[in-house]
Amino acid sequence: MSIDRRTFLLTGVAGFGSIMLMPSCVTRTTSSWQFFTDEEAACVIALCEQIVPADEHGGGATKAGVIHYIDRQLVAVFDYDQVIYQQGISALQNSCLDLHGKRFETLDFDTQYTLCTAMEEGKLPGEHWGELDQGRFFRLVISHSMQGFYGPPRHGGNKDYMSYKMMDLDFPLVVGRNHYEHLS
């Protein structure tokens, strides 16, 4: 919660203006996503998988479709976060190219992990980030990933209620009464 709040406060007034005045103001090239380009999506998918990885409990963010959650919200409720995503992804990619000569999503899991830890601590090369606070960008993706992975499937993530099942929270909420809604 505090992450969401902090993040928002930083975008504060401008954010509110954008909700009212300029939904979806960014023109994008065609892609299979509502907001992301295919390249951006590949990066975010890998980033989210670091945040919620597949493990012995089951699949991670990729399998749960967290990217669908984020992509969908970025043209809706989170439209004021569009710019920070674009800038953050680009800065992360430039940092990776600089340090490893490769894009983030093509690096191996452990290297990605090290890069995420550095980003969290604000230690990726500053020249690629400019005004943007890399720790803040990472915390934003963390909170969105948690929402997409642990929130209900109706918003695009948590495919087939997979995280609920991993926590053994599957339906019914009370025997014989409630059922998962059927998504088309």
Partner: protein
């Protein structure tokens, strides 16, 4: 076409307003109950955590609409942020018929006699506006009883040695403990404390034509799928409508209370569901829009006679904003302590509510509502990594192995914790919005540390393998338990309303919500607000004759 003049306008169909509308309608007054939201509907949001009244990162199922209702939050350093329900720091209850009583946890506490007399019990507290209520527990007792029977409470006070005296038991038997409740209650007993089942505005047995609670896993933050949770939306408001005397006008944003040259109020201005400006006149206006929005409405109701807003001649409207700092501790167990029998909170203890050296007031302790998956992803021991393998592993292993014991600390009011209106930030209709500023009294944090240590002690006694404290009590107050912004008092120079909720000097303007509370108890406040609704209504109906007060 002009709206037909009525006897009474009630602004806000929440806890206080719902009760008042019913009482006036039953006594034959014609009433329009205004609500900015609509009727709640379980099927529209099911058990969707991200729009529940607990998280709201994607919006509030029970309002208000984040696109239409900005607010301003003024930080300690004076900087100003525009906030919405999805951003956090917004401090609202809800916006629908029933308001918080639709999605609440439904704990049904009576305040203790001392809660109405904090100043005479504990003396002055430096830097605070601490005062006694002009109303005693004994005054409110019959109205607590009425709330318990008409709205419906399950409980058994005989198990609580600190319970205030009552004439009649609660109408329904108490709920059974869930697993965490049983284990923690036993630990509490071993420590010499006095656990008992929490009184609840939920049906333990069928009541008033609605079914018993099914112990749904998701409860607080959500509407009830079987209607076994009791709010004003499914009790008193339908009763008011059934009299034929009360119209509920939903999706109407009240902008201003109008007054005339004689200093009496004449009705309200509002925007209807099509955003059209409208006027409704009445003999009486009762404002019950919740502590933050009631203050805003009074402050926005300016005239030549009331240049600072209604009831605000002495600058007390919006002051003493209170709520509850929640404070307690978390325990992890090596077995599944949570069985997810809803709503989660099931046992409470009043051992820490009064008469402890160095503590002004104190607070009740109860086990916490069932964890929700996204919110639980933010619950980790201090220093734990908020992402990655370790974070996920903790989630899967511990969501059923965690118990939280916490409670609402009695906050000590101060003059600078307040609601003002910000003329530069307007809502969808162009009405200046709530701005919140100030912070809690520093003593609250000390009290919170004390109560958290008590909670941790009980969690350990219950066999926790790891515990940590979550200490509240700093920053801005208000929120879901907001109170105090139009406080009652005998002195018009240091309060907004008299002991009957009547605004000083304006005989036909009343307040009937959490704003009236001089102090906010060490308990969740809703039953007290409902009792105040009955108390205010009782005064009005006893003194009302046709279209005016008896002289």
């Amino acid at each position: 076409m002009a709206n037909t003049h009525v006897n009474a306008i009630v602004v806000g169909a929440g806890a206080g307003g719902g009760v008042v509308a019913k009482e006036l309608a039953v006594h034959g007054l014609s009433v329009v109950l205004f609500e900015r939201g609509g009727w709640p509907d379980y099927d529209a949001h099911i058990n969707d955590e991200l729009i529940s009244q607990r998280t709201q990162v994607l919006g509030s199922a029970f309002g208000p609409d984040h696109r239409k209702h900005p607010r301003v939050s003024i930080q300690q350093d004076g900087s100003k942020q525009v906030v919405t329900p999805i951003s956090g720091d917004y401090g609202h209850i809800a916006a629908c018929v029933g308001s918080g009583t639709v999605s609440y946890g439904a704990m049904a506490w009576r305040f203790m006699p001392e809660d109405f007399k904090l100043k005479s019990t504990y003396g002055k507290v430096e830097g605070s506006t601490l005062d006694d209520w002009p109303v005693s527990y004994e005054d409110l007792e019959p109205f607590y009883e009425k709330a318990e029977w008409e709205i419906g409470v399950s409980g058994d006070d005989s198990q609580n040695p600190f319970a205030p005296p009552r004439k009649k038991p609660q109408p329904m038997p108490p709920f059974e403990y869930n697993r965490a409740g049983r284990i923690l209650a036993e630990a509490g007993s071993r420590l010499g404390l006095h656990p008992f089942p929490i009184p609840m505005l939920r049906n333990s047995v069928p009541y008033n034509g609605r079914p018993a609670c099914i112990r749904n896993r998701t409860c607080v933050g959500f509407a009830c799928p079987v209607d076994g949770k009791n709010g004003t939306h499914n009790t008193v408001i339908p009763t008011a409508m059934a009299t034929g005397n009360c119209e509920v006008r939903t999706h109407c944003q009240v902008a201003e209370v109008m007054s005339d040259a004689s200093g009496r109020v004449t009705g309200i201005k509002y925007f209807d569901g099509e955003d059209k400006g409208q006027i409704q006149t009445s003999d009486l206006v009762i404002v019950a829009a919740s502590a933050t929005e009631t203050a805003r409405l009074l402050l926005n109701s300016k005239s030549d006679l009331f240049p600072r807003g209604l009831g605000n001649n002495y600058d007390w409207v919006g002051r003493n904003l209170q709520g509850h700092a929640y404070t307690g501790a978390v325990g992890l167990y090596d077995f599944e302590i949570t069985d997810f029998a809803g709503p989660g909170a099931s046992f409470g203890m009043c051992d820490f509510n009064h008469h402890h050296d160095g503590i002004v007031g104190g607070g009740m302790l109860a086990n916490e509502f069932n964890p929700l998956p996204y919110l639980f992803s933010g619950v980790r021991p201090p220093g734990a990594k908020p992402w990655g393998r370790e974070h996920k592993d903790f989630q899967m292993k511990n969501i059923k192995r965690m118990a939280v014991l916490q409670g609402p600390i009695q906050e000590i009011p101060n003059f600078e914790a307040r609601v003002t209106v910000d003329p530069s930030v307007k809502d969808h209709w162009g009405i200046p919005v709530v701005a919140m500023s100030g912070s809690r009294h520093p003593i609250d944090y000390e009290h919170c540390k004390w109560l958290s240590s008590k909670a941790e002690m009980v969690l350990k006694e219950a066999g926790a393998v790891q515990t940590w404290q979550r200490v509240g009590g700093r920053g801005l107050s208000g929120g879901q338990h907001q109170a105090g912004t139009a406080r009652m008092g005998n002195d018009p120079q240091s309060s907004v309303c008299n002991r009957y909720g009547q605004v000083h000097g304006i005989d036909n303007l009343f307040v009937a919500d959490g704003s009236l509370c001089v102090t906010n108890g060490g308990f969740n406040p809703v039953l007290t607000i409902m009792a105040l609704g009955y108390w205010v209504s009782d005064y009005i109906t006893r003194n009302w004759n046709a279209s005016k007060f008896k002289s």
